[in-house]
Symmetry: C3
Subunit: 139 residues, 3 copies
């Protein structure tokens, strides 16, 4: 069995934003030399998500609007978590909807994806460095 | 280490609908010959989900009603994604709530499940062929 | 390849409640002797979740309030599932938001975590014994 580990670092300039990290994960698969196995990609911070969906800008804006409706940033003082001095309680909730991680099959040395599957990092409390873990096991 | 891969194809006749795919996944475990490991089951399309819950018809209807409330289909033109000619923005959001994938333990050559766990495919934009990936690794 | 399996049993005294299970999962990693691999932790019951987030009491209360808003317990008779004699339809929906499982990288014989990542069990229909599965594969 082979294993591979790498961190991807990101710094989203706004509070919220999406980054397509598919090519970085693809590079990890190649670098690992693993041809058959499973690839875990997870946010290592707890106010961001890794998820798989379509690379379509309008959809990303729809997602952002929708999450802001489900778990609004305001009122900041309405969240108990923010009484600790934070202002990111909403970010923890948004991340709960979108999920922490994805697990992807590796087949023939490649991400085993449907036509439109792309991997995204969704930042909900940006303007600082965050990291994503890629762990691959297989042979 | 052994690996196994198979696609399950589905064609849900309505826009939305649930299909119990537990027996198909069970067949994959048997076919794989893998006795100990992990089994990934994921939607390969981005407007459907794979999730684990109860096989109870009333609950499924509750889920469908609830998702339609959280991310309504109408108004179609209210979503930026639908300006591309699609009418399925809500399907992408509903799938985000229910998730893309499940990872299941394989123990003694079987799905290692609690009493009521069943695997479902949830279609949010049906009336065409879609596929689900089953990837098993172990020994 | 090595595999390891253990069940963690819990009995949350109220209908809803959170339990930090990070140290129990850590103990499983040590007991397994696995140094590199993947660790699956999933609820074996379908009215509870396993998820990763911050160990902050105010945030946990925010999450509980927020889930009750997204999928309220009342009115109990408003859910079709509850016509079967249950009163836990909301628990199935809340669990759908928070997720069934997490997959965690094992590196150097430890949970490969960011600074604030902690594993929680979220009970949505407690006052009875429930179980969580830990399955680790690797070497």
């Amino acid at each position: 069995m082979k294993t591979f580990r790498k961190e991807i670092w990101l710094n989203v300039p706004d509070r919220r934003g999406l980054v397509n990290i598919t090519s970085e994960v693809n590079d990890c698969i190649k670098e690992s030399g693993i041809r058959e196995g499973l690839c875990l990609v997870n946010a290592m911070n707890i106010t961001s998500s890794v998820f798989i969906n379509d690379d379509e800008r309008g959809l990303h804006q729809d997602m952002d609007d929708w999450l802001e409706k489900l778990a609004p940033h305001e009122s900041v003082n309405g969240y108990r978590h923010n009484l600790t001095g934070e202002d990111n309680a909403d970010a923890h909730l948004k991340r709960s909807v979108m999920g922490r991680e994805v697990v992807i099959a590796v087949t023939d040395g490649r991400l085993d994806f449907g036509t439109w599957e792309q991997i995204f990092y969704f930042e909900f409390d940006g303007r600082r460095r965050k990291h994503v873990l890629v762990k691959i096991i297989g042979e």
